[in-house]
């Protein structure tokens, strides 16, 4: 965190505590901090949900953490892998018992919720070089950390959904790969004749529906996230959802959109030519390579509508807890995780970096990142509010009702918007 000239080492631990957070001289990345003058000591605990059966955990534990500890010999980073599905519950319980770790790699949707609980350190206030770090990352990913005018975290990795398809299949079917929503709709009968659903998705929540709503020119809420009526149920939003409902009603989409997880997964359907297109993230490439070695997946931008081609931002942020006893060292580790070295190391195992100017280096690592980098230029995050989990549940239930024909899309979105308004009102 602080760049100590050699010789200042005599200050050691006492100095690092007393000067915590108010130093004006700062370095954007730790690579400039030379180990000899380092005053950081202690243990930094870090909870994350990196996959243990993939190289993610081993990259963190065998490459990134040792490299950081070499730069800061006084600091030990203790990482705790937690299964993704259980991390939220563990965080909530630990928050109630004041037993949170120093750092958490949090799903971008959790940051406003945790910030609203008051357990996160307001980084834009207490981290002297926050702005420097913030300027380096994609704005869409940074926005997920903003709650009531303050930033509570930094983006750590990002992703977005793009269109995935099988080029051979389209060629065989004699159909052009659709780049707009209208082309997709027009191509559906021919694709069906060739034996495939035009498009498949397995949910109706924000992650699934927002690319269609945004690309149609619709939205979820006003820019300040205070109300949904007039946005979520606008003509453009309805049009975006209606496109999919029509595809479904005409038999061009499988019923896995209704949930139940029973059917063929979207990725399996794509690889076996049952689904012509799906929207998915960069993690699918290694999975296809290992599960379907004979299948070559191709990617293109999300089908464009009246609002352009706009996808949804996913990924994780890194947050520092208020109760952390070792904020200096923890912040230093955050800086290191955002350094080019650490970001590129994670990129090699499928985690997309958040540093905006790494674009060209990324395609050297994995050519398939190109479509994702391009899509990220316009991709937007889901509304940043602690109420999002609940709004997402409502959205999914209501939109599914319209797929089942129990409501019109307009009725479903009217209802979702009015319920969302009530929830958003609690946080204003």
């Amino acid at each position: 965190m602080k760049h100590w000239k050699s010789g200042a080492a005599a200050f050691v631990a006492i100095a690092s505590i007393s000067v915590a957070g108010c130093s004006s001289s700062s370095e954007p990345t730790s690579s400039a901090t030379d180990g000899s003058g380092d005053t950081l000591t202690g243990t930094v605990t870090y909870w994350h949900a990196y996959s243990a059966d993939s190289p993610e955990v081993s990259t963190l534990e065998d490459t990134i953490i040792p490299a950081f500890e070499k730069l800061h010999p006084g600091v030990t980073v203790q990482d705790v892998p937690v299964p993704y599905d259980e991390l939220h519950q563990k965080l909530v319980t630990a928050a109630a018992g004041e037993q949170l770790p120093d750092l958490v790699r949090a799903d971008i949707g959790w940051v406003p919720e945790l910030a609203n609980l008051g357990v996160l350190e307001p980084l834009s206030d207490s981290m002297s070089d926050f702005q420097t770090l913030a300027d380096q990352v994609y704005p869409g990913t940074l926005a997920t950390n903003l709650w009531k005018g303050t930033y509570y975290g930094l983006p750590l990795d990002t992703n977005t959904r793009v269109t995935l398809y099988n080029a051979d299949f389209f060629e065989k079917a004699g159909v052009q790969v659709p780049t707009t929503v209208d082309q997709l709709v027009a191509a559906a009968p021919a694709l069906k004749a060739a034996g495939a659903y035009a498009f498949a998705d397995n949910g109706a929540g924000g992650w699934n529906m927002l690319p269609w709503i945004w690309s149609a020119g619709g939205d979820i809420t006003d820019p300040d996230v205070t109300k949904a009526t007039g946005y979520l149920n606008s003509a453009a939003s309805v049009k975006g959802v209606q496109t999919l409902v029509d595809l479904y009603n005409n038999g061009y989409m499988p019923d896995i959109i209704l949930g139940g997880d029973g059917g063929l997964a979207t990725s399996d359907g794509l690889a076996t030519d049952k689904y012509a297109t799906i929207l998915d993230g960069p993690w699918m490439y290694p999975i296809f390579a290992s599960q379907y070695p004979d299948f070559t997946v191709s990617a293109s931008q999300v089908p464009a509508g009246d609002g352009g081609s706009i996808s949804v931002v996913g990924g994780e942020d890194i947050v520092l807890t208020k109760q952390s006893q070792n904020k200096d060292a923890a912040m230093e580790f955050m800086r290191y995780l955002l350094s080019e070295d650490a970001q590129l190391a994670m990129a090699a195992v499928g985690q997309m970096p958040v540093l905006a100017d790494l674009g060209s280096q990324l395609t050297d690592i994995n050519p398939y990142y190109a479509q994702f980098v391009e899509q990220l230029q316009t991709a937007k995050p889901r509304p940043v509010t602690p109420a999002w989990t609940q709004i997402d549940t409502i959205l999914q239930d209501e939109i599914r009702a319209s797929f089942r024909g129990e409501k019109t899309v307009q009725e479903a979105l009217d209802e979702a918007a009015s319920q969302a308004d009530a929830l958003l009102a609690q946080y204003n």
Partner: protein, 281 residues
């Protein structure tokens, strides 16, 4: 007795009382945040909440469907395996396998069996039995979804019931069974007049435990349907989990769980008292 109960009181009852107290508050999880006292509001809200009322109906239906079948099949297997039969240990192990296999694994498996396109369940229902001309979308409807969850519950619970019945049957003296057999009593009569009276106690225990377990069904629903579509297959505990751990409304979550506890307790007390009376008679 005392150390056991003391530990039990500390680990279970004390936290239970605390949880109960927070059902009367709009409880905030972070220490130091004010949690206003709201009295019975959370309970009133629960019983006016159609999702919660429906979840109770679902749990009741699940219990009514799964408990009798687990008992009947479990008891039948136990009777068959109680006799000296070559290979019975192997069978005992096979029937117990579902009990030891983790819920995560079996829930996944049953999702595949009940998948809408060409799962095993549709194969049986449509092609073999001809009960329906079209494939059934099991998880898209409330009762077909509950049925699939119920089948899993039965499948997983049979071995459990069997084990308790086996333990109870072993206590029936072999001489009594043999004596009855010499009298020319048929297998069924032997069972009815000799074994059944001797395992009444076990039967009551299994019934109560399965009954409570039925209303507390949780993991299978969470993993198979997540309460969907649109809350149709929600059961009290999945709804409680959603409110408390997903939406952080712990006051409401604990009101849901104590409403359920009170209801199950009242019903169990009724049954317990009733079976006792019958046994005494």
């Amino acid at each position: 007795m005392l150390p056991g109960f003391a530990l039990y009181a500390l680990i279970m009852l004390y936290p239970a009382v605390q949880t109960m107290l927070l059902s009367f508050r709009d409880w905030q999880i972070i220490p130091g945040t004010p949690s206003p006292w709201v009295g019975l509001d959370n309970y009133i809200r629960a019983f006016q909440d159609p999702v919660f009322v429906n979840s109770l109906v679902n749990a009741a239906a699940y219990t009514a469907f799964t408990v009798p079948l687990q008992i009947v099949i479990g008891l039948a297997l136990a009777v068959l395996l109680d006799a000296k039969l070559p290979g019975r240990v192997a069978f005992r192990v096979l029937f117990y396998l579902p009990v030891v296999t983790s819920w995560v694994v079996v829930s996944l498996l049953f999702q595949y069996i009940f998948q809408s396109d060409d799962g095993l369940a549709n194969h049986v229902v449509v092609d073999m039995l001809g009960l329906s001309s079209d494939n059934v979308s099991w998880f898209q409807n409330r009762w077909t979804g509950m049925f699939a969850i119920g089948v899993l519950g039965i499948w997983k619970g049979i071995g459990w019931a069997m084990l308790i019945f086996l333990a109870a049957l072993t206590a029936v003296p072999q001489e009594l069974k043999e004596a009855a057999s010499l009298d020319g009593a048929g297998a069924f009569q032997r069972f009815r007049h000799v074994s059944l009276p001797a395992i009444r106690g076990a039967l009551a225990v299994v019934f109560i435990l399965l009954f409570i377990g039925g209303f507390n069904v949780f993991i299978s629903v969470l993993l198979m349907t997540g309460g969907g579509p649109g809350n149709a297959t929600q059961v009290p505990l999945t709804y409680m989990y959603q409110q408390a751990f997903k939406f952080l409304d712990f006051g409401y979550g604990s009101a849901i769980s104590f409403s359920l506890t009170a209801l199950v307790l009242a019903l169990s007390a009724l049954q317990y008292w009733w079976t006792r009376r019958r046994m005494a008679a």
